[in-house]
């Protein structure tokens, strides 16, 4: 079911939680609302559910305005961060709740609940009470309960926030599978960019109540619209350069001035993968020492420190790291293959300039 927000704002008293957000979610999509806490993403989710009413703007479902439709009539499934399971009811009764309200015939209700319990790996647990379940099981009950009345949209608020890291990974994969099988339009809120990247088809990034960017995980990673997005999604090295003698410089590093006047500043950003390193000290123009190695599995994240004390983060495949005989404390040469200009001195507050510049051949001042 398609959902559309048109210039939606929400204020709580004098505090503005959501400001002028417009966005469309197509039928069957799996969308992540991503942003730091207090960014307004949960408020957006609650407005879609009908738990909050927009202060201004329109909310449309299948093209029809639903601002004034009460939550009970919206036919949405909502999964709360705290799960909000009914403690006094068994797992079965929890899942059956929405069906009971709709006066579903007992046989049909029994069949639907059994089907969901089975699908969610909860068969045999129907008579348990919520406090007798593990965190992961509780969450699955919460999702099963939300899905039981066949909602047209499934909304999840920080669905993986309350479980430990290992189960979180399983749940993510499970949610993707579930979405593939049931094909119900799903919107979830998260503050974890990795989670958003891994699970969703599309990411909506919020910060301070404003929509920063909408796009596929790849889009927002490779084509961030602004510095906030670039920094929020993945790891970003940011350098603040000053133009001196026709080039933008910071300690031993220098870049083209990009038309910035002498004495003005310039911010650039680059992803870890843009930093190439080599154990051959002659291969690249700059030198650094590997200050720290983080094992991430197949990949390693390295922290480089230049002689002047700049810290840069880079990634390297483990095999390559071993082949070059590198270790913590090794001296390496490096180059920055590409970077983005995030902001220029005159233009500090609209950092939407996002051009990739190849720095590989820029040898000035090395």
């Amino acid at each position: 079911m398609s959902i559309e927000l048109r210039h939606v704002s929400k204020r709580f008293g004098s505090v503005s939680a959501v400001e002028d957000v417009s966005l469309t979610v197509a039928d069957g999509e799996l969308v992540a609302l991503l942003g730091p806490s207090g960014g307004g993403k949960t408020t957006v989710l609650r407005m879609i559910a009908g738990l909050e009413v927009p202060t201004s703007g329109d909310l449309l479902v299948r093209g029809e305005r639903v601002n004034d439709v009460p939550v009970q009539k919206r036919n949405i499934g909502f999964v709360f961060q705290s799960y909000a399971l009914f403690k006094t009811m068994s797992v079965f009764d929890n899942v059956a709740f929405g069906l009971k309200i709709r006066n579903t015939p007992p046989a049909e209700m029994q069949a639907r609940v059994d089907e969901l319990l089975k699908l969610f790996g909860l068969d045999g647990l129907g008579r348990r009470l919520p406090h007798q379940l593990s965190g992961g099981q509780r969450q699955r009950v919460a999702i099963a309960r939300a899905l039981a009345p066949r909602p047209s949209v499934l909304l999840l608020d920080e669905p993986f926030g309350a479980v430990d890291a290992k189960i979180r990974q399983e749940l993510r994969e499970w949610l993707v599978r579930l979405h593939r099988e049931l094909h119900v339009t799903t919107i979830f809120v998260t503050h974890d960019q990795e989670e958003a990247m891994e699970v969703s088809n599309r990411i909506v990034i919020f910060s301070r109540g404003r929509l920063e960017q909408i796009g596929s995980p790849r889009d927002v990673y490779e084509q961030p619209k602004n510095e906030f997005v670039a920094r929020f999604i993945g790891v970003l090295n940011v350098l603040e350069l000053t133009v001196r003698g026709g080039a933008a410089r910071l300690n031993e590093l220098s870049f083209p001035s990009h038309g910035v006047a002498e004495g003005e500043t310039l911010r650039i950003g680059f992803r870890p993968y843009a930093v190439q390193i080599s154990s051959n000290l002659q291969e690249h123009p700059h030198s650094a020492v590997i200050r720290h190695v983080y094992f991430l599995g197949v990949q390693l994240r390295l922290e480089l420190e230049t002689p002047s004390g700049l810290i840069l983060r880079t990634r390297i495949v483990k095999d390559e790291f071993l082949r070059q005989g590198l270790e913590q404390g090794s001296s390496v040469s490096f180059q920055i293959r590409e970077y983005r200009v995030l902001s220029t001195g005159a233009n500090n507050l609209s950092p939407e300039v996002a051009t990739v510049h190849s720095a590989a051949n820029f040898a000035e001042g090395i």
Binding site: A49, G50, L51, V71, Q72, K73, R74, I76, G77, F78, F80, S82, A84, F86, K87, T88, M89, F97, G98, I101, R102, L129, P130, H131, R145, A146, P149
Partner: protein, 259 residues
């Protein structure tokens, strides 16, 4: 543990034991004759009946009051909240006197109610009223913390599943409140059973009609029949005890969903 037992013995168990020892000096026939005399039976019925009604009224109105006090923010809420404890602080004799005065034929409210046939002063209705008044704080004070902790998300979850307000209250909120409500009910009931001072003033204290058990006990004491007074007291004690245990078991059943 040791401290609790010592304290409990000193304050509760030793006086109770004294009572039982005193009664055990009576013959069984004497005990039955006194403790189950018609006058005593009528008093038991009135005491427990009126207390039960009072506790029930408080269970309903107290829940409502606790709900309003925890859920709504309005000017004067703090004052109202403080007023709930008023029956604790007020000497019960004063409460009885005030109520009797209020509802008597010439009282503020009585002058309007009596012509309508509603007699609250010097009747069993008045006893219920007095008992309701003195036991009011118990339900409110036991429910308040539970209501304050109650997750709003549970109600929202019910709403997203299609439940209206009343249905949400009946199926989600009420079962969660039930254990605390039963505790409050039990406390209010116990308080009402033990009430003496306020009833003395508002009841006409007629034997067989509007005389509560403590008055029967007082009656025996006035005649220096200590053993007879004790006999009646023992019956009351056992009954209260049995009722409290029953409510406790019910409460345990109602809270089976808790850890």
């Amino acid at each position: 543990m040791g401290y609790s037992i010592a304290y409990l013995s000193l304050v509760v168990l030793i006086p109770l034991a004294g009572l039982l020892i005193r009664v055990s000096a009576m013959s069984w026939a004497d005990f039955v004759r006194v403790a189950f005399s018609d006058r005593a039976l009528a008093a038991y019925r009135l005491t427990f009946g009126a207390s039960f009604i009072a506790a029930t009224i408080n269970a309903v109105l107290g829940t409502l009051l606790a709900w309003v006090l925890t859920r709504y923010r309005f000017p004067g809420r703090k004052i109202l909240d403080a007023l709930v404890d008023f029956p604790f602080a007020l000497p019960t004799a004063v409460a009885g006197l005030t109520l009797a005065n209020l509802f008597s034929q010439t009282g503020w409210l009585g002058q309007f109610l009596v012509p309508l046939g509603i007699h609250l002063a010097y009747t069993t209705g008045g006893i219920v009223l007095a008992l309701t008044f003195v036991s009011l704080p118990f339900v409110v004070r036991t429910l308040q913390p539970v209501l304050e902790e109650f997750e709003v998300e549970l109600e929202e979850a019910a709403a997203t599943l299609g439940a209206g307000r009343w249905c949400t209250f009946r199926r989600v909120v009420f079962p969660a409140l039930l254990p605390a409500l039963m505790t409050g009910f039990a406390l209010a009931f116990a308080r009402a059973v033990g009430e003496y001072g306020s009833v003395l003033f508002i009841s006409s204290n007629k034997p067989y009609v509007s005389e509560i058990t403590p008055q029967v006990i007082m009656g025996w004491l006035d005649q220096f029949e200590y053993a007879n007074a004790m006999a009646v007291a023992v019956v009351m004690l056992s009954a209260s005890f049995a009722i409290l245990i029953t409510i406790n078991l019910l409460e345990r059943w109602a809270s089976r969903f808790q850890r």
